[in-house]
Point group: C2
Chain length 231, copies 2
């Protein structure tokens, strides 16, 4: 199957934001190549969600890069990768206070760097990331200034750039509240029952319902008058 649509690389975690971002990229006319990462996080379950979402939204390709953390044990100091407790039951004020313990050093920089390599390999000039600076204001690498700086760097980094291609980093959700993200995704046919956002699922993959990510989702669906269909 070939396509005349321009190719785009879409970073896909399997969570609500990246699923919506993928749907937006597809709706904007891009032929989407999804890219997921396994990096020793607690939630390998997310990768199964990424597979489901990629299938549901009919991507052109889906690759998962396994990031070796053996040489990098210290990455596991983050709550997201295993050795710290995930904070629970925090209200909105607590959630917005500072850099979360779920911060992983240079994560988006590493992810976007692989995305840049893939973009060059498949001839894509567009990359999509579900970064959001509203609900997760504490993550330095979700800020617009960071993403702009990455884009400037990317446009000096590759053979494609030297030969005249302009790489664009799209972060369509960057300043959207969660309710707007969900409404947009529902309009575009995203099945949020296939997504997974919990930082601390049980062994069967069920969401804890109490971490920041679960609470932000729950509050947003509640504000829209519906239950969270996620796992």
């Amino acid at each position: 199957m070939s396509s005349n649509r321009p190719a785009a690389v879409v970073l896909l975690s399997g969570g609500l934001d990246s699923a919506t971002t993928l749907a937006i990229a597809s709706d904007e006319g891009y032929d989407c190549h999804a890219l997921s990462f396994s990096y020793g996080q607690r939630h390998e379950i997310e990768l199964a969600a990424a597979d489901r979402v990629a299938r549901q939204l009919d991507v052109r390709s889906h690759r998962t890069v396994r990031i070796d953390v053996d040489g990098f044990d210290d990455l596991s100091t983050s709550a997201l990768t295993g050795h710290q407790r995930v904070p629970k039951d925090r209200d909105a004020t607590q959630r917005e206070n500072g850099i979360p313990s779920t911060y992983v050093p240079a994560r988006n920089t590493i992810f976007l760097s692989y995305g840049l390599a893939l973009a060059e390999l498949i001839g894509a000039r567009d990359m999509f990331i579900g970064a959001n600076a509203v609900d997760y204001s504490g993550y330095p690498d979700c800020r617009p200034a960071y993403l702009s700086a990455f884009e400037r760097m990317a446009n000096l980094a590759t053979k494609a750039a030297v030969e005249g291609a302009t790489i664009r980093i799209h972060a369509p959700l960057i300043d959207w509240p969660k309710t707007k993200i969900i409404r947009k995704g529902l309009d575009l046919g995203v099945d949020y029952g296939q997504t997974h956002s919990c930082y601390d699922p049980d062994p069967e993959g069920r969401a804890c319902g109490r971490c920041d990510s679960c609470l932000i989702r729950r509050d947003a669906f509640a504000a829209l008058g519906m239950p969270d269909p996620g796992r």
Copy 2:
């Protein structure tokens, strides 16, 4: 063993340039944490050289990140990673003409991104890379403008940066001819017999003597009136 010297991350391929860069970083007073990468290149032999160099120059730590190329088969389109012939017997004019076939998409961006993560984990504010824009003028990600753009991005990317740490990317060899690099390394006690630069070694790890990298080394040692002690 503890140290009061500031920590630095040094990207170490096991080649002549990165070995010299490591010696310079150490001479400048940094406690060096070497970082090497395995990414399906023909020259896994380089990693053995990186180990030898790291030991010879007494680094504080040495990590090797194995970059998964299974999800990224197309990386192997580069001559460096296996599926193309390495150009041989090119003279200096041919070597300087355009982007080499040994270009690997976004390689330095991926390497520096891991370096940035490691820097944050160990509290380092300094990163060293043996990038050189003289002998390898064709690589987009060896240019000063690229490295400056990466540095600007890095200073927006991390928790450490948000908290006030300034990341510096050092590329001390950036505008040095190979002869100057070798003289400096010899002054600092680098054993170039431990390094490996060949793009296309035989199965026993012996240099081919004919690829760009071998020829550049050979010419430089010859200009200094000595044989290349490398493998």
